[in-house]
Symmetry: C2
Subunit: 258 residues, 2 copies
């Protein structure tokens, strides 16, 4: 039983002035569920209460809860499993793993062998102006900066620089990072309670500087994909800035438009 079961606001209530600001019931339910997710009431991988339970808790019909969950499932925040229940999505599952990594092997064989990861660097430092802006911090705030190389079949392919806000990631060290198996985003979930939900990427073609070229084992004349990503948790709070350099000689960035 929840403490003080929240009720959806009455829609006819005057909102003061201006636009009517009509919001359907199921949207309000969606926000309530979202709030519970943010508060960590249900953790990644766990079941949430059944539709009937939620309907009783929110005092609405099952159909209304269903529509709210439908939208959250479409956004990959929840995962429905018939006969079992509805679960909080996680980056730790086998077939949804590396969902944000779009660099796939050329050819038709999707034999996605796992990458060998090498952490080159992991420091606590002060945010520069552009890093601060990307992470919604102030210049000089504490951030973690790390650099790593991913190799496939022994071939270094991805060089990544990451910046993480110091607050939510307090206690991050190169050791803990190196010890982690599986996707980094799964590690963030279990170790820091930070779940990445959305991301925006800006992609350009660039040439590496000598240091970058050396880490990737290419000449400075090799064109590389520059992928700048800002990843967010629930409520679109930016939680990671990532600048990647991808070799695209035997792999490509895949995108589906629809």
């Amino acid at each position: 039983m929840a403490t003080a079961p929240p009720s959806p606001t009455d829609n006819d209530a005057a909102t003061g002035a201006g636009t009517p600001a009509f919001s359907p019931l199921y949207q309000q339910i969606k926000q309530l569920i979202l709030h519970s997710l943010q508060q960590g009431e249900w953790k990644p991988g766990e079941v949430i209460p059944s539709e009937l339970e939620l309907a009783a808790r929110f005092r609405v019909s099952q159909g209304t809860v269903r529509k709210a969950i439908d939208e959250l499932a479409a956004e990959h925040l929840l995962v429905r499993r018939q006969g079992r229940g509805t679960f909080v999505a996680t980056h730790a599952e086998r077939h949804v793993q590396y969902r944000f990594l779009r660099l796939v092997p050329d050819g038709d064989s999707p034999t996605d062998q796992p990458a060998q990861r090498t952490v080159v660097e992991c420091r606590r430092q002060r945010a520069s102006a552009d890093v601060a802006r990307a992470l919604a911090l102030r210049t000089g705030d504490a951030v973690f900066q790390l650099r790593r190389v991913l190799a496939f079949g022994g071939v270094p392919t991805i060089l990544e620089d990451l910046w993480l806000p110091g607050g939510p990631f307090k206690g991050l060290t190169a050791e803990r990072l190196s010890a982690c198996q599986g996707p980094m985003y799964a590690f963030f979930e279990t170790e820091f309670g930070v779940r990445m939900v959305r991301a925006d990427e800006k992609i350009r073609a660039v040439l590496p500087d000598p240091g970058q070229a050396k880490l990737l084992g290419v000449t400075p004349a090799t064109p590389l994909l520059s992928v700048e990503r800002i990843a967010c948790t629930y409520n679109d709070l930016p939680m990671e800035l990532r600048r990647g350099l991808y070799r695209t000689d035997t792999r490509h960035y895949h995108n589906r438009l629809s």
Copy 2:
């Protein structure tokens, strides 16, 4: 009144052997609507019959039709407009225009001035092996090959080579192409009844050959984005192969992950 109103198949009917192959009613309705779209019963931009009409036609409830339309709308094949009706999606609308072009200006201002288009080449020729494979044709089949340059603010930015199957695009000429205003995909809809619905893109970083560099006004040492796209109509039939080279010095390819 439709000729011989099709009825959804009875689900309990034995499917011979093997998997039960259960398919919900709304999925069958979805396929029937899809079929009407393919047949051109309703053209891009037109209204389709109201939910109540379709429900009567297919002998199901409004809710079932609604769910079918919901999915088609989520896939951008239909567009719902409250109070007006449900419309066949089109590339000719202002705010949905260039939905497949992901190259956006750097910075926060999305001042998307229209591009100046120059058709460099437009020929009818025989498909090479790789072009044929991409378009699901046979080597040697007739295809149209065209090349064009897009410039923004006078700066040549995109060089595109396109291959189109000769059959569906019979009668295509450089003149008709040059005369077209607005998006090329809208032109394809009105002139050839070909609506692009989905596309897959493979993105790499490359260096241009001398000819490409000249057309884009860059040196051959300038890294460029190589974007290979295969675009499909309804039922995933490939209808276009497009190889683009994008300058990314003042623009970037934007992608939203979720």
